[in-house]
């Protein structure tokens, strides 16, 4: 019976469904709404998982082709796929990850309630990736389940308030208020890139003052932009591998047809994944908000990239295109120091490269947006190549994919560093105390609150 309950609760989809259930019950929704919200949360997570399966299926032959074509080990930086694959291979990572996700959210609420950093992190797939990555790090270091969940959820909670706080000054410039925060674990990367953009740009010359050509607007449609770039990447790789080699991979299918179908199949996988994300977030964010409103008055929700897109659509497209340029440069640079070459992450380029453009525009105008995008492209490739060997994904039988999120790389490296210094069990609780103490030391300085109310 206990085993049944544990298994049920630690299935990520069911667990998130339970979070939605609690949130909806707190809001005293009627039975129909509660049932609908809970079920659709669970179905959303399952669709999301199915989508990552399709993506991985289309990436597998690609890794072989790329290796043959460029005589290099190419990896696709794609966090959902990494965590999905790890959870599938190691049940303990899946279970601990789910527990860290749940308890990390509780820690987030406590920190938001008692510290000056009043952010409730609501970007579900980011929470899922970070908690999975933490579960993986502690499993890799040989920690017990209890320790992994204890330290993991504390670190998760800290990340949920500190990273949005880092981005908030820029968010305030963009949105003109403090009503929303940036809840995405690429914060360190985009803030750094925007900072470089600021050095070279002029915030008075905003990208939004110029007109983008209409012909580029269709890139706003993710289905179009991803298809376009993925088919191109597949075509180039297939060309480099040569038609002879391709016959062994494609079952005799014409190599150009093969490349087109593979590129589009990848895109189809992304669309399935996004459909799942949409259904899942559509239910869990309002449910989450119910919990937050009751427990943390005055909280700022930290939300996913797209909430900022509408504030600077031109900067979004500039950021997307210039981050692709940066990623290609990053690929060439990575070639010079390692065997691992991160391929351009088109999803990262559109969502977070776009954010780098918007942040860069806020600090350094249109020149800032371009430079910020290019720098962010480097952030999306070079650290991936540098950190890849540190975690030994291959030892888990996971090949061809790599972790990308800048904040996750920082947090994981921090865990490894603290562990090697043997101070992790002291440092993590100390950080929690320090963050809460800040609220007592500076009780009068409430960050940005006066503007938002």
């Amino acid at each position: 019976m206990l085993d049944f309950l544990i298994q049920l609760i630690t299935t990520p989809a069911v667990m998130l469904g339970l979070v939605a259930l609690v949130g909806l019950l707190i809001q005293r929704k009627n039975a129909a709404d509660v049932t609908k919200g809970t079920l659709k949360t669970i179905l959303g997570v399952l669709i999301l998982t199915a989508g990552s399966g399709v993506i991985v299926q289309y990436l597998e032959p690609f890794a072989t082709i790329f290796t043959q074509g460029f005589q290099l080990t190419g990896v696709v930086p794609f966090d959902e796929a990494v965590i999905g694959a790890l959870s599938e291979k190691v049940p303990e990572i899946a279970r601990n990850g789910s527990l860290i996700l749940a308890l990390g959210f509780v820690t987030n609420i406590i920190l938001a309630r008692f510290s000056p950093y009043k952010y409730i992190f609501l970007t579900g797939h980011m929470l899922w990736i970070m908690s999975g990555a933490l579960a993986w790090a502690f499993y890799d270091l040989g920690y017990s389940t209890v320790q992994a969940v204890l330290w993991g959820s504390m670190i998760q909670g800290l990340a949920c308030v500190l990273f949005p706080a880092l981005a908030q000054p820029i968010m305030r410039k963009i949105t003109g208020s403090s009503e929303i925060g940036y809840g995405h674990f690429t914060t360190a990367g985009v803030v750094l890139s925007a900072g470089v953009g600021k050095l070279v740009g002029n915030p008075k010359k905003s990208s939004e003052d110029m007109k983008m050509p209409k012909s580029l607007e269709f890139f706003k449609d993710t289905a179009v932009s991803i298809s376009f770039v993925m088919v191109l990447i597949y075509l180039i790789s297939v060309l480099m591998a040569g038609p002879e080699f391709m016959k062994t991979i494609s079952n005799g299918q014409n190599w150009i047809v093969f490349a087109i179908v593979q590129g589009l199949g990848f895109t189809a996988g992304v669309l399935i994944l996004l459909q799942g994300v949409r259904m899942f977030l559509g239910e869990i964010v309002p449910a989450f908000r119910g919990i937050a409103q009751k427990l943390v008055p005055g909280a700022t929700p930290a939300l996913d990239c797209p909430v900022v897109f509408a504030f600077a659509p031109n900067a979004l497209i500039i950021g997307f295109l210039s981050s692709i340029v940066g990623m290609v440069i990053g690929m060439l640079v990575s070639r010079t120091f390692g065997e691992i070459v991160p391929l351009p992450s088109i999803i990262g380029g559109f969502f977070t490269g776009g954010i780098a453009g918007i942040f860069g525009n806020a600090l350094g105008g249109r020149r800032g947006a371009i430079v910020s995008g290019v720098i962010y492209g480097l952030v999306l490739t070079i650290p991936v190549a540098l950190f890849f060997p540190l975690y030994g994904l291959e030892t888990y039988g996971v090949t061809g994919i790599a972790l990308l999120l800048s904040d996750a790389l920082i947090v994981l490296s921090g865990v490894k560093l603290l562990d090697s210094l043997h101070i992790l069990p002291i440092a993590v609780p100390l950080a929690i105390v320090a963050v809460i103490a800040l609220g007592w030391i500076r009780p009068n300085k409430k960050q940005g609150k006066s503007e938002s109310v």
């Binding site: 706003k220 449609d221 949409r278 559509g282 964010v285 797209p306 909430v307 897109f309 509408a310």
Partner: protein, 89 residues
């Protein structure tokens, strides 16, 4: 009544607007089915009102219901000002 909020992806800004409209409905004591949706899925959708951002105006598909375009999708005052007249119709 069915109100559909729309943004590019269907889970960022559209979700925020959906929640704001839910709050407004609650304040007014009115009932309506609200849903957040991505641009790509709007075509052929049956609804009484669509709410989206100004930025989408040029590429918004043809629909059989009125469309409200918001200058700032996070500004609750603007949402109120534009949506309430419709609810009271």
């Amino acid at each position: 009544m069915k109100i559909v909020t729309v943004c590019g992806m269907g889970f960022g800004t559209s979700l925020m607007v959906k929640m704001s409209i839910d709050d407004i409905l609650k304040e007014l004591g009115k009932q309506a089915d609200t849903q957040a949706m991505d641009m790509g899925s709007v075509k052929g959708l049956d609804a009484d009102l669509f709410v989206t951002s100004k930025e989408m105006e040029s590429s918004f598909p043809e629909v059989d219901a009125p469309v409200i375009y918001l200058d700032n999708m996070t500004n609750k005052a603007e949402i109120k000002e534009k949506v309430i007249p419709f609810l009271n119709r």
